[in-house]
C-alpha cells in the first residue's frame, strides 16, 4: 500500500508538470505573434501588448517563460483579463462557488439515481427494466452536451415552464436544479452501467454464495455485501468524470447563463480573452489532476487488493 501511494504520488507530480507544460506550450510555443493569438480578432493596444509581454515574460527563453507561468500558477497570480480588466484570480473567486454548487447537484443526482437503477437492473438482469435502462443509458451517454443542455432548457424551461429558462447572477439552489441535472445526465448513465455490471459480477462471487448459505436475508446480502463491493469502481469513475463534468459545465453554464467557472471560459473563448482562457484552463487541469490522485489513493484504501503493477 505504501509503495503504491508513493508511486502514485510520483506519477501525479510528473503528470502535473507534463500537463501544465502541454497547456502552456500549446498556447505559446513557436508562435509568430502569441499576443495576437491571445487577443484574437481584438486589436492589441500598445499598453495591452506591453502588459502581456511583461506578464508572460515573452522576451525570455521558452523554458524560463514556463517557469514564470508555473510560479504564477502556484502563487495564485493568474494575470489580468484583457476583456474585463480585472485580475483573473478575482473572476475565479467569484465563479467557483456557483460551479461547485452546480457540480454537487449533478453528482448527487447521478449517484443517487444511477446507483439505485443500476442495482435494480443488476439484480433483475436480462429483464425488461434492465433492457430499458441500458438503452436509455446508451442514448444518454451518446448525447452531446450541446444537445442536452439546450434541449433540457427548451423542454423544462420554455415548454413545460417547470424551471426558469435562464439562471442569471447570484442563483438560488432551485434555479440551479435543472442545469445541475442536465450536467449530471452523462455521469448518471455511466454510473448506471457501471453499477449494473459490478452488481452482476458480485452476485456471482463466492462470498455472496457463502452469505446466502449462512442464511443471511436478501436485503442484507445486497444492501451490505454486494453494494459495498460494487461501489468501488463507481468512486473511481466519479473522479475521472470530473473532466467530463468540466467540459459539460462550459456548455451548460453558457447555455443557462450561470456565472460560474464554465461560463467564464465560455465567455473568454467567445470574446477572445486569451489570458482568461489559459488561466482558467490551467486551474481546472490542476484540480483534475489532484482529484484523480486523491481518488486513486482512496481506491487503494478502499480495496486492499489494488497494487501498483
Amino acid at each position: 500500500m505504501f509503495r503504491y501511494i508513493v508511486r502514485r504520488l510520483l506519477q501525479g507530480v510528473l503528470t502535473f508538470f507534463g500537463a501544465t507544460f502541454i497547456v502552456y506550450a500549446l498556447m505559446f510555443a513557436n508562435q509568430d505573434d502569441p499576443l495576437q493569438a491571445l487577443a484574437g480578432e481584438r486589436p492589441v493596444t500598445p499598453a495591452v501588448r506591453q502588459y502581456l509581454t511583461d506578464y508572460y515574460h515573452l522576451n525570455d527563453p521558452f523554458l524560463k517563460q514556463y517557469g514564470y507561468y508555473m510560479k504564477g500558477l502556484l502563487t495564485g497570480d493568474l494575470g489580468q483579463s484583457i476583456g474585463r480588466n480585472r485580475p483573473i484570480k478575482d473572476l475565479l473567486m467569484d465563479a467557483w462557488p456557483i460551479t461547485l454548487k452546480l457540480s454537487i447537484i449533478a453528482i448527487i443526482f447521478a449517484a443517487l439515481l444511477g446507483v439505485t437503477a443500476g442495482v435494480v437492473a443488476g439484480i433483475r438482469r436480462a429483464g425488461v427494466f434492465d433492457y430499458v435502462t441500458l438503452l436509455i443509458a446508451l442514448f444518454l451517454i451518446s448525447l452531446p452536451f450541446i444537445v442536452l443542455a439546450p434541449m433540457a432548457q427548451y423542454l423544462f424551461g420554455v415548454e413545460l415552464k417547470i424551471f426558469p429558462v435562464t439562471t442569471g447572477g447570484n442563483p438560488s439552489l432551485y434555479k440551479l436544479l435543472l442545469p445541475g441535472m442536465a450536467l449530471g445526465t452523462v455521469a448518471l448513465a455511466v454510473t448506471l452501467r457501471l453499477t449494473r455490471t459490478s452488481v452482476t459480477e458480485n452476485l456471482r462471487a463466492d462470498y455472496v454464495r457463502t452469505a446466502r448459505a449462512k442464511g443471511l436475508s436478501r436485503q442484507r446480502i445486497i444492501g451490505v455485501h454486494v453494494l459495498r463491493n460494487s461501489l468501488i469502481p463507481i468512486i473511481t469513475y466519479l473522479g475521472v468524470s470530473l473532466g467530463d463534468l468540466m467540459a459539460g459545465a462550459i456548455i451548460t453554464e453558457g447555455v443557462f447563463n450561470i456565472p460560474g467557472v464554465g461560463f467564464n471560459l465560455f465567455q473568454g473563448i467567445r470574446t477572445e480573452d486569451g489570458p482568461r482562457v489559459v488561466g482558467f484552463v490551467s486551474v481546472l487541469v490542476i484540480i483534475f489532476i489532484i482529484t484523480n490522485l486523491v481518488v486513486d489513493i482512496l481506491y487503494a484504501v478502499l480495496d486492499p487488493r489494488i497494487r501498483y503493477e
Partner: protein, 319 residues
C-alpha cells in the same frame, strides 16, 4: 492495476484480444463448434441494435456523400424575410433565424461531421497504433517513456486542452476542418493506444510468436503478421466509438466558436453552428434547435452503438 479502472466511459469494459482458438459456449452446445469470429458474427446477426446502428451509420455516410439525394433545396439560400417561417411543402421543417431551410441545412451538415470524424480517427488511429505497438512490443524503457506520455495526455481533460489548442490554431485565420481534425486526433489517441498496447502484450507472449521468432522472423514480420491481426478487432471497435465521439467533439468545439468557423455567405454548414445559432432564439422557435440536434445525436449514437454491439459480440467475457 488501477490504470485500467481509470478509463473513461467507452472503455469501462476492457477489450481483450480475441484468440484464434475455438470457443465453445455452454448452453449453446448444438451444432459444430464455431470459431470466435463466426460466433461473434452469429451474435451480431441476431442483435437488432447492431442492425439499427449499421443502417443509420450507412445512411449518414450516404447523406454526407450525396446530400442532394435527400433534399432538392439549397442550404445556403437564406432570406431574412422568411425568418422562423413555418413549414411548407417545399421546406418540411420551416426556416431558421437566418431564413435558411432547416432540413436542407441539417442534411448538408452531415458532410463536415463525417469528414471530421473519419479524418480524426485516421490521425488518432495512426498515433495510437505507432505508440501502442512500439510500447507493447518492445517493452522496457521505450514502454515506460511512452506510457508516461500517455498518462500525461490523459491527465489533461480533453475538451480543455482542445479549447486551448483550437483557440491558438484558429487565431486570425478562418479555420477549416483540418484544425479540428488535428485537435481531436492529437488529444484523443490515449484510449485507443492503451487498447492496442494491451492486446499487443497479450499476443506477444503467445507460443506461436516465440516459434516465429525462433524460425528467424524479424521484428517487422512478427509485428505485421502475428501480432497486429490480434490487436485488430479491439482496435476497430475503439475506432468506431471514437468516430462517434469525434463527431460530437467537432460539434462542441464549433458550438463554442473555436471549431468550424462560419463563412460570410452561409455556405459553411455544420450542425454545431446551427445549434449554436438556434440557442439564443429558442423562445421564439424551437425547430431550428431540434432538427440539427436530432441529426447530431442520432449520428453520434449510431456510431457508438455500432462499436458497442461489435465489442459485446467479440468479448466473450461479457456473455
Amino acid at each position: 492495476m488501477s490504470s485500467s479502472q481509470m478509463e473513461p466511459v467507452a472503455t469501462s469494459v476492457a477489450v481483450p484480444a480475441p484468440t484464434v482458438e475455438e470457443v465453445e459456449r455452454p448452453g449453446v452446445a448444438t451444432g459444430k463448434p464455431r470459431s470466435l469470429f463466426s460466433d461473434a458474427m452469429h451474435d451480431l446477426r441476431h442483435n437488432p441494435i447492431f442492425w439499427v446502428a449499421l443502417v443509420l451509420s450507412l445512411l449518414v455516410i450516404v447523406m454526407a456523400a450525396f446530400p442532394s439525394l435527400f433534399t432538392p433545396n439549397n442550404p445556403a439560400d437564406c432570406q431574412l424575410n422568411r425568418q422562423h417561417a413555418g413549414p411548407n411543402g417545399w421546406a418540411i421543417f420551416g426556416y431558421n433565424f437566418q431564413g435558411c431551410d432547416i432540413f436542407a441545412r441539417s442534411v448538408y451538415g452531415a458532410r463536415i461531421s463525417v469528414e471530421v470524424g473519419f479524418l480524426s480517427i485516421a490521425v488518432l488511429g495512426t498515433i495510437a497504433l505507432l505508440i501502442g505497438v512500439t510500447g507493447g512490443y518492445f517493452g522496457g524503457w521505450a514502454d515506460a517513456v511512452l506510457s508516461r506520455i500517455t498518462e500525461i495526455v490523459l491527465g489533461v481533460p480533453y475538451l480543455l486542452a482542445g479549447i486551448v489548442l483550437a483557440k491558438r490554431l484558429s487565431a486570425g485565420q478562418s479555420s477549416g476542418i483540418w484544425t479540428v481534425v488535428f485537435v481531436i486526433g492529437v488529444l484523443s489517441w490515449t484510449t485507443a493506444c492503451r487498447v492496442v498496447r494491451s492486446s499487443v502484450i497479450t499476443a506477444k507472449n503467445q507460443d506461436y510468436v516465440a516459434a516465429a521468432r525462433m524460425l528467424g522472423a524479424g521484428h517487422a514480420r512478427i509485428m505485421l503478421r502475428h501480432i497486429l491481426p490480434n490487436a485488430l478487432a479491439p482496435f476497430v471497435v475503439v475506432l468506431t466509438i471514437a468516430l462517434g465521439t469525434a463527431i460530437s467533439t467537432e460539434a462542441t468545439l464549433t458550438f463554442l466558436g473555436i471549431g468550424i468557423k462560419p463563412s460570410g455567405d452561409g455556405s459553411t454548414i455544420s450542425w454545431g453552428l446551427d445549434i449554436s445559432g438556434a440557442v439564443p432564439h429558442v423562445r421564439e422557435s424551437a425547430t431550428p434547435l431540434i432538427v440539427p440536434s436530432v441529426f447530431l445525436s442520432v449520428t453520434v449514437l449510431s456510431f457508438i452503438m455500432l462499436g458497442d454491439a461489435i465489442r459485446d459480440a467479440f468479448d466473450p467475457k461479457l456473455r
